[in-house]
């Protein structure tokens, strides 16, 4: 079957040469979409639980409800500040990490269906939302994972990645492109998550 991917997408990204404009754009879109999805999941989950409405969130961050409705549809003209405001309005803040693309890590987790997505209502670390944009040997993949115990998930994920990773030394020497780990969790949980991650 003919597919659209004839040449490894990241071959020129990992070559250390100038990155083509289209690939820069691809990753910008990818990251923006990840931010948007994170917000969307969080907001929908809280809405289902009756914890927040569009009007309430809009009011909290000093925006009109119709603006919030537009942001639910797509990120549009979002900025990092917008993302921060939206998460903060729901009582969350993002946590970011970077690592190298060249570590040869592939994360191939299928995102959970939203209908099955259960967000925690208690005050433990259970079920925090995680977006991991991780590296592949020749690529970056992304996932959203929910877990009954994120710390266990992170450890398992790391062990699995270490077991399967085949770091390529030449890539490591030539490139050190960033990799983003994005979390959103209740503010009181972030410290624990960070400790687990470290």
């Amino acid at each position: 079957m003919t597919t659209s991917q004839q040449i490894p997408f990241l071959s020129d990204v990992l070559s250390g040469e100038k990155i083509p404009a289209g690939k820069l754009a691809y990753f910008r879109a990818r990251l923006t979409n990840r931010f948007h999805e994170l917000f969307l999941r969080q907001f929908v989950t809280l809405s289902k639980e009756g914890k927040i409405t569009r009007a309430q969130l809009a009011k909290r961050i000093g925006r009109k409800p119709e603006q919030l409705t537009r942001w639910l549809g797509s990120p549009g003209n979002w900025t990092i500040e917008t993302f921060s405001d939206l998460l903060l309005g729901m009582g969350y803040e993002p946590m970011l990490f970077v690592s190298s693309l060249a570590e040869g890590r592939t994360n191939n987790i299928t995102p959970p269906a939203l209908a099955n997505y259960v967000f925690p209502t208690d005050k433990t670390e259970q079920g925090s939302v995680e977006i991991v944009v991780s590296t592949g040997q020749l690529g970056i993949t992304g996932s959203i994972a929910t877990a009954s115990s994120p710390s266990e998930s992170i450890r398992a994920e790391t062990n699995s990645a270490l077991a399967s990773a085949q770091p390529q030394k030449d890539y490591l020497e030539r490139i050190s492109a960033p990799q983003f780990h994005i979390f959103a969790g209740p503010l009181h949980q972030n410290k624990k998550l960070l400790e687990n991650r470290v």
Partner: protein
């Protein structure tokens, strides 16, 4: 008389069109990324994704488009407008009139916005057939929009003369996309 009943599904036809290089299976750009939904693209849309492009600006714009299409393919959460002319920022929309079953995927940013038109062959299987720059489509009831819908339908008939796109049962959007949608 012995009757030989040969059942040919639209899947068989899709596979034929792919073998003929009239359709292309879009896979996530990044190796290992999940492939939860499927897009089969016409050659003109495939060219947007793979190039060559007329200039760097267009290459960049098409890079954004590919990121947006991967959002669908990877099964990420997407917003769907429930009614035509509403939810203008939604990722996806079924155009008016609904009976024509013409959908658009909106790659809104950056300018110029791009609209990818297509129809669903089955649940989670989108056949992306034509595209247009949003700025070239004028107002919502314009001749350009009608022409865009007609071009999409014509392309479908050329590819699948014996098959119709799926029709949602009573307008239930889960008949088109199984999960991870937010209706706005």
């Amino acid at each position: 008389m012995n009757w030989l009943l040969t059942y040919m599904s639209i899947y068989y036809e899709i596979a034929n069109r792919v073998n003929e290089k009239r359709l292309f299976s879009l896979t996530p750009a990044l190796p290992g990324a999940p492939m939860v939904r499927h897009i089969y693209a016409s050659s003109e849309i495939h060219r947007l994704i793979t190039g060559p492009w007329v200039n760097t600006t267009w290459e960049e714009r098409c890079g954004y488009l590919r990121g947006d299409l991967d959002r669908f393919i990877e099964g990420r959460v997407i917003a769907i407008a429930t009614r035509p002319y509403k939810g203008k920022t939604a990722y996806m929309l079924r155009l008016h009139p609904p009976r024509e079953q013409v959908w658009e995927i909106r790659s809104r940013d950056p300018y110029p916005g791009i609209r990818v038109f297509g129809r669903f062959a089955d649940i989670d299987i989108f056949i992306a057939l034509t595209w247009a720059k949003r700025a070239d489509l004028a107002g919502p009831h314009s001749r350009e929009w009608r022409d865009a819908r007609e071009a999409c339908k014509t392309e479908w008939r050329n590819l699948f003369p014996a098959y119709e796109p799926i029709t949602g049962n009573g307008g239930d959007f889960r008949d088109y996309i199984s999960a991870n949608t937010v209706l706005i």
